[in-house]
Symmetry: C2
Subunit: 486 residues, 2 copies
């Protein structure tokens, strides 16, 4: 993993990444005021700064789906229990740990309110919606003219997780779930690959994530899928994060839900379906990919605040001039379409400065008496730290700020690429794999796919907590990446 | 209620409003392909055309809240049952019919999957979030510097409704729920009135709703509120629809949730809270306010499709020219920021025409060989019907389309205003009220507030299914509107 640049300096986050990565992760969330645990087991409260990141993700990604012909729709939060058992593998995968609604009334009892009015058939809060959307598709699709049918839903789902970590694994989480139906296998496969490309573009061009696209091994597939594709990235502790997946469900759900159409040949066929998603988990990935020992570093294109302006007032006489200059600057940045925050809270400047650092705001502007007088802007890039402090004329700053945002994005992406290059090593044999992790190394090992057939692989995976991530496209199915994962 | 313009003509919707208003309502939804009932009791599937209306509402309203200083956040879907009982009136209002989660696992039993792993404390799916947000506010608010705290959540809630109707009353529905905390009563009251103004502006300027703002009578207040304000409109059948409400919760939730702050005086005080909302119910209101016997009529500013272009191809030789002209026109309208649909489905022109009518698309453009040759546009306004058919040069059409949209909006709003004027009558005594409804009339009767104290009012209300809607601001608390309501 990345070594903290200056181990001796006091950091804003305690512990540091090197000292205790999981605890550092929680502290970054707290310091940036992104989320907190709630009184509901395994569920979090997403605070405004955290939710604004998700809102930006939705705002960016949703129009891409619409341009591709996907229509948003909304299906019920509850799923009848009998629906879950329609697809055999799906039952095993999802029917186990979920929130079950069994009653529909509360009445006063001896020790407070008690559930009454038992339901004839219980419901689960959707862990995913294949079965209920499949049920609707069976009604909506009659003929090849109704295909392709491309649907998407932005919403909340719930899985009763035993070990939870904010954003990474929570009982309730937000996601989008796409569900499409096609005439044939080619349509479904092409959909999975197209959406995977959207994901890669989104992660690369907006989240500054390097990573790898590939095919999941059979045992890592989504329950009920013929094929699962994923985009995964390596976090700073060397563990992989599956950032998004697309599933080719073949005709499995079509058969279990009865989704048939009259084909161009006049005969009846089952459709081929897909499903795909990314979730609020990606926000956890942003932290583990980019944050440092001083807190979050937000990629500029999804940052809730791209520029923060701090008025630095040392004596009251210069205050009006400074404030006027700051307001004017904020207005001009806003007019350029940037998300600006003028931090005029009644706090000490160092407190505001550290708040901006911990929130990872890409550019921090400091305006004192000198800047106001000279119509100049002093600013610091969060990704480079205080060594990047620069003073420019306001005019030049405003002219350059778009390029600065791009430069920050590129620099973060480049760092992520370099980290991936360092943290993927090639191996040939099971012993190579074992020796690597036995030596306490982190990252992923790329081995020939033939290793998947070796009996002793299961032992090695169990001993070091490894899993097959995916078979990267770039290796055309010949190799598989193995390592630890979230 | 509005009489259908031409009773003798065949209408696209059967039955008509006059024949059977509730059934007409369901048929409009079906004909416009907005939503359908789901296999989950009381829950609907919102189909793409219906959901697009909600997405437009969110897109328009959300920035107003942000400009006012509201921050979006997300609180858990589940609420511990003990939380619900914290506020006495709130328990009575909300703890009765709700979805109760009692188990967190399903296991295979003799007759399929059965719930296991019983929870120590059950949860309900939130019917509203005052209690869980109050719990968070108690942690987040320490001092007057933390106030005002203005939060909002866009999400789904669930109330186990016995009699459901799509959009108007469903078990699961979408809404936004604002929850704010203030130092004093003035702050809370001002918040309620400011947000109510936002609602009025939204309904008037985007939904083309006339209506009335006012204060609810004590018995119609939100459970746990000191004061409830509402914006209500009268539907075409003369029944009122409460389109949005704001609640001044006083210090009730602050006391039950322990939300205290250190004031400017150094002493500890309870905050004053508010909550406010509108929901997908408003989409039901759009139908009952504006639709006619041929289906939906969408107010242009929230219409998912503002202009539909129908190529009218009579012989194949002119087809390429027509299609080229249509595509060019669509591109130019899109460039002006309009939501355009070029309907090039392989269907008969009358079928496409009726589809556009039933979906209530504000402007329908028909391009045949003559239009393509003359570079002209023939169009029909949905609100005025086929008598409004006009042909303009493409240039003039493109120049005028923005004004046409405004004209449609104004005309729909004016129609709604006229309808409200006709359907609110003044009364003085209980007998006036009784006689009005005994005569089979619909609409609302405005009576002096003193009538609320008359013992026999309850009888009259029960006999005719009436309720006090609100005490309109324009009458400064001296009068109250009484009638039937959704």
């Amino acid at each position: 993993m990345n070594k903290p640049a200056k181990a001796a300096t006091r950091t804003a986050i305690t512990p540091t990444r090197a000292e205790d990565f999981p605890e550092w992760y929680q502290q970054v969330i707290k310091a940036a005021d992104m989320a907190e645990n709630s009184p509901v087991r395994g569920c979090m409260i997403i605070k405004p700064y955290g939710l604004a990141i998700w809102e930006n993700m939705v705002r960016i990604f949703d129009p891409w789906l619409k341009d591709y012909g996907v229509q948003n729709a909304s299906f019920p939060l509850l799923i009848p229990v009998s629906f879950l058992s329609r697809e055999a593998e799906h039952v095993d995968g999802f029917a186990k740990e979920c929130a079950v609604v069994t009653h529909h009334r509360l009445e006063a009892g001896e020790n407070g309110l008690v559930p009454t009015a038992k339901l004839e058939e219980p419901y689960v809060i959707r862990p995913t919606s294949e079965t209920i959307i499949g049920d609707a598709m069976a009604r909506w699709i009659q003929s090849y003219r109704d295909l392709p049918l491309k649907l998407n839903q932005w919403g909340n789902v719930m899985r009763w997780e035993m070990r939870t970590r904010m954003f990474l694994r929570t009982s309730e989480f937000f996601w989008h779930e796409g569900h499409c139906a096609f005439e044939n296998a080619e349509g479904a496969k092409s959909d999975c690959l197209t959406i995977l490309d959207f994901y890669e573009k989104f992660f690369r061009d907006y989240c500054a994530f390097s990573g790898f696209k590939g095919v999941k091994t059979p045992e890592e597939r989504f329950p009920g899928a013929d094929q699962t594709y994923s985009f995964e990235s390596i976090m700073q502790d060397g563990k992989a994060l599956q950032a998004a997946t697309t599933h080719d469900l073949g005709q499995n759900f079509a058969k279990s839900c009865g989704i048939k159409y009259q084909g161009r040949d006049g005969a009846e066929h089952f459709v081929h379906t897909t499903s795909w998603a990314f979730s609020t988990r990606v926000i956890g990935g942003l932290i583990m990919m980019h944050a440092d020992d001083d807190g979050l570093i937000m990629p500029p294109r999804i940052a809730p605040q791209q520029v923060v302006i701090l008025p630095v007032i040392k004596d009251d006489s210069s205050a009006p001039q400074i404030m006027e200059f700051c307001s004017g600057l904020a207005a001009k940045l806003k007019a350029q379409g940037l998300a600006v925050r003028l931090d005029n809270r009644e706090l000490r400047t160092p407190d505001k400065m550290w708040d901006a650092v911990k929130k990872g705001i890409p550019v921090r502007v400091e305006i004192g008496g000198r800047e106001a007088q000279d119509q100049a802007v002093t600013f610091v890039r969060r990704d480079l730290g205080r060594e990047s402090k620069t003073t420019l004329s306001a005019e030049a700053f405003l002219q350059e700020i778009g390029k600065t945002m791009d430069a920050i994005h590129e620099s973060m992406l480049e760092r992520s690429r370099a980290f991936h290059a360092e943290n993927i090593v090639e191996g040939k044999t099971l012993n190579d794999l074992k020796d690597y992790f036995a030596a306490g190394k982190t990252g992923l090992v790329k081995v020939p796919v033939e290793l998947l057939k070796e009996e002793k692989l299961a032992e090695v995976k169990a001993e070091y907590g490894l899993s097959a991530r995916n078979m990267p496209f770039e290796d055309e199915g010949r190799k598989v990446l193995i390592g630890r994962a979230y």
